[in-house]
Symmetry: C2
Subunit: 144 residues, 2 copies
């Protein structure tokens, strides 16, 4: 459970506790993900942090995200092969991508899904579930 708050002191501690030196760039990138639960792409993160960190490079964003994944504090979402997204919520949950507005929503499943005899003797490390379609907002705005 993520019980940390979003002030930079706590993010620093959080990173330290996961074996990550809290550099300025790392703090800002993690805080951006934590405060904006929009499953951003590298480009979105980069563009949003540029005003604050004018010297920032995409390489650093890539390096940092890969480090976070390796230390298991974020997860990678592959919905389209052309855009990798990142999520601070590392628990197993689904996603919904709206084909109209492009927004990615979290999806939490009610029933204890996913029983398959196919997997009985397999070791499952990761479960990924996503949907594509049209979100409520877009359905309403299209109808108008």
């Amino acid at each position: 459970m993520n019980s940390i708050t979003n002030n930079s002191h706590d993010v620093g501690l959080f990173l330290k506790n996961h074996g990550i030196k809290p550099s300025y760039q790392r703090l800002k990138i993690y805080s951006f993900l934590f405060e904006n639960r929009i499953h951003p792409t590298v480009d979105t993160i980069y563009k949003n942090l540029c005003p604050e960190i004018p010297t920032l490079s995409k390489t650093t964003v890539y390096n940092t995200l890969n480090l976070f994944i390796q230390k298991n504090i974020i997860q990678k979402l592959v919905i389209e092969e052309t855009e990798t997204r990142y999520d601070v919520n590392t628990s197993t949950h689904g996603h919904f991508k709206c084909e109209n507005c492009g927004k990615v929503y979290d999806v939490f499943l009610e029933n204890n899904l996913l029983h398959s005899s196919n997997l009985e003797n397999f070791k499952v490390n990761e479960t990924h579930l996503y949907f594509k379609g049209v979100c409520e907002k877009c359905i309403k705005s299209i109808k108008k």
Copy 2:
């Protein structure tokens, strides 16, 4: 339901029935997918068909697969951002990728999965589910 057999005459008819002119390359590419349910990448398809069609180019493989997807007779699987795979089975089902041997297995779910109040007012067009881990064969061979 795919009830066609794998001789080239029937594949030709099948393609025609879906508004696709059955060229030699298209027949061979569809037949390869139909006869080898291994969820191959473009590269795998290309390498396997090259001996049979020495003039084949990857562009044609890409063009053909995109046409098949557009006509809805195959589906795209995005499990890793670095490798797109293709499946002749267009029904909704899951996949399992072994992190050891790289093989992708089909996963058919028993219970009528996937109820989420989050999606109540959303229009769902596609459902994608996949797992990563270690397959039975690899578990056994690692133990030895």
